[in-house]
Structures are given as structure tokens and as C-alpha cells.
């Protein structure tokens, strides 16, 4: 299944919920390294951490995974 992660197309296993997807990113061959602190939006909707197990990723889903950054 293909999704878009931070603007980049990535292939992930089928039937992954968000929790399982993030756990899979701990593998060495993962598309990205999972940051320690992050927040997530799926298709421009914020997903609270408590909801990760309930979100089933669909083909073409657009994930934004944001981390702390300098700002003015």
C-alpha cells in the first residue's frame, strides 16, 4: 500500500493502523526514523496519540509528522 509521508511517497504493509505503522518505523530498513517527539495529521486532520490504534491507514493517505522546531 502506498501512502504519502511528509510529502514523500512510501510503501507500507497492508492493514496497518497508525500505531502499528509507527512501530514498524523502528526497523532499520524503515523509510524514515521515527522521532522521539512528534504529532501527526492524517489527510490534514490532527490525530491525537490516544487514537493511533483506531486509525486504519488507507491507500493514498497523506501523513504529516511534525517535530519541534525553532520559531519566531
Amino acid at each position: 500500500m502506498n501512502i504519502v509521508l511528509n510529502g514523500k511517497a512510501v510503501e507500507i504493509p497492508e492493514t496497518a493502523n497508525l500505531q502499528a505503522f509507527f512501530e514498524s518505523l523502528n526497523n532499520e530498513d524503515a523509510a524514515i526514523t521515527l522521532p522521539r517527539q512528534f504529532a501527526v495529521a492524517v489527510n490534514a486532520q490532527f490525530v491525537p496519540r490516544s487514537q493511533y490504534p483506531n486509525i486504519i491507514l488507507q491507500e493514498g493517505d497523506d501523513l504529516e509528522l511534525l517535530v519541534p522546531m525553532q520559531g519566531g
Partner: protein, 266 residues
């Protein structure tokens, strides 16, 4: 101490964490400013693997109040999503709401700002809106639930100071209950003092410190300028006059002052 939103803080200077030459200089400058509130943002994890972790740990070590922003957003929807993500990421309900309406001047979009403010206040946020000095907009933001307003002094990053002091002065006069913070456009300590002398409650700046030749010294200068301006406001400025008034007593002047050539000419 003064109260901003739900917290008591000492400094009336709010400082940004961006654009410093290095993380170490950022830390030293923020410490030197003696600010209690620092702004941050949230972004995609960069391609080089930087995950914001070292920055975040460094900032946390300063033990300050964190004010996340929604910089880069161009719509109410984007800003609301970003604010929700910021609340979880940084563990605060404070949000500096920034929605750009014009990419050239980085002028805030007043309509989107009001729309997003209503939603975020309903969701329990303390909204710090980065706005223009438009009185009607500011009144509507207050009606929507903002206790704090952050009108621009000048466009972000220009360092031009207070380009419309008349409008800012009027805002202060018309909105005595609001916590007013000049945000953006400050280039020099004198600009920060000017805002504080007008009775603004605080100043938020970033570039003027981060891009100074010596950010640490400039941060200290800004902190002192904000304190001096506030002290002057509390002391009460003398009324401005068009004609000169001698400050030294004229009574008892020596005899030579009474020679005819000292008579005023017309």
C-alpha cells in the same frame, strides 16, 4: 511580576528561538534576555534526519514558558490543525496564531484569523493572535475570546520599528483591558522602549536579536529597553510642548543676564 494569560512572569519581553547562528548562541541569548516566554514552531522532520529532539531538549533545559506558533499557515483550517498538533507536542494550550494573508508583506489575514480564533477558543486554547493594528479587528478578536492581542509594529523581519505609532497608541487607549504585545518589526532597543512607553504590556521579537552581530549582548539590551520603557510608562511621561521652557530657575539670575542684548529678539 505581571500576569499574562494564566501565568505570572517577570519579564515583559517575549523572545523567538529562530535564526540564531548556533543552538549554543540561541541558549545564551535567551538567557541574557531574561525572558520568561519563548516562541517555537513545528515542522516536518528534515531529510537530513534532524528530528528536533536536540533543539527541544536544549529549550526544555531553559525551563521557560513555551509559546508555539502557527507560522506558515495560510488558512484557518491549516492553523487550527497546526494548533492542535502543537498542543499535544509541546503540552501547552497557548498558541501564537499566525495566518498569513499576503506573502510579500507577511501581513496577517484578519478574516481567517478571526475564524480560527473562534474555533480555537472553543477548544480551550489561549490564543495569542498575531494581528495588524486595525482597531475593529482587535475588538472582534477580543469579542471572540482573546485576552491578548499582538499587533505588528512593522512587517516580520524588517526591523523598521513602529511604523504606525498613531494606530498603536489608539489601540492602547481604546482597549485598556487587553494585554497588548507588539509583535514583529522591532529592530532596535529604542523601538522596544517606544512600545513600552506607550503602555504596551510586552514586546515579542526574534530577528533583531538573532541576527545581531552579538546576539547575547543584543538580547540583554532588548531586555533592559523593555524594562526601561515600562518603568517610564509607569512613571508617567511629561507632556510634549511646542515651545522651550528653561529647566534652570530664572529667578536670581546674575546681573549680566539683564543687559539689553539679552532681550529676546522677535
Amino acid at each position: 511580576m505581571w500576569k499574562i494569560a494564566d501565568r505570572e512572569v517577570s519579564s515583559r519581553l517575549l523572545i523567538g528561538s529562530a535564526l540564531y547562528p548556533s543552538p549554543e548562541i540561541m541558549c545564551n541569548a535567551i538567557k541574557a534576555s531574561q525572558s520568561d516566554i519563548v516562541t517555537v514552531s513545528l515542522r516536518r522532520q528534515s531529510v537530513d534526519g534532524a528530528d528536533g529532539e536536540s533543539f527541544w531538549q536544549l529549550l526544555k533545559s531553559l525551563d521557560l514558558n513555551i509559546l508555539p506558533n502557527t507560522a506558515g499557515c495560510h488558512s484557518a483550517k491549516e492553523a487550527i490543525t497546526t494548533a492542535l498538533m502543537a498542543r499535544e507536542l509541546f503540552g501547552t494550550h497557548w498558541i501564537k496564531l499566525e495566518i498569513i494573508g499576503d506573502d510579500y508583506s507577511l501581513q496577517p489575514d484578519p478574516f481567517a484569523l478571526l475564524e480560527a480564533t473562534k474555533e480555537l477558543v472553543a477548544q480551550g486554547f489561549e490564543v495569542f493572535p498575531y494581528c495588524t493594528d486595525d482597531l475593529v479587528l482587535c475588538e472582534k478578536l477580543m469579542s471572540a475570546g482573546c485576552q491578548i492581542l499582538m499587533p505588528w509594529g512593522a512587517p516580520i523581519g524588517t526591523g523598521k520599528g513602529l511604523i504606525n505609532p498613531y494606530a498603536l497608541r489608539k489601540l492602547r487607549q481604546r482597549l485598556p483591558e487587553a494585554t497588548l504585545i507588539v509583535d514583529a518589526g522591532i529592530g532596535a532597543p529604542s523601538h522596544a522602549s517606544q512600545a513600552m512607553e506607550m503602555g504596551f504590556d510586552g514586546v515579542l521579537l526574534n530577528t533583531a536579536v538573532a541576527q545581531a552581530n552579538n546576539p547575547e549582548s543584543m538580547a540583554k539590551a532588548m531586555g533592559l529597553a523593555v524594562s526601561a520603557g515600562r518603568l517610564a510608562y509607569e512613571a508617567g511621561l511629561m507632556p510634549e510642548q511646542d515651545t522651550a521652557q528653561p529647566s534652570t530657575p530664572t529667578l536670581g539670575t546674575p546681573f549680566w543676564h539683564h543687559y539689553p542684548e539679552h532681550e529676546p529678539t522677535r
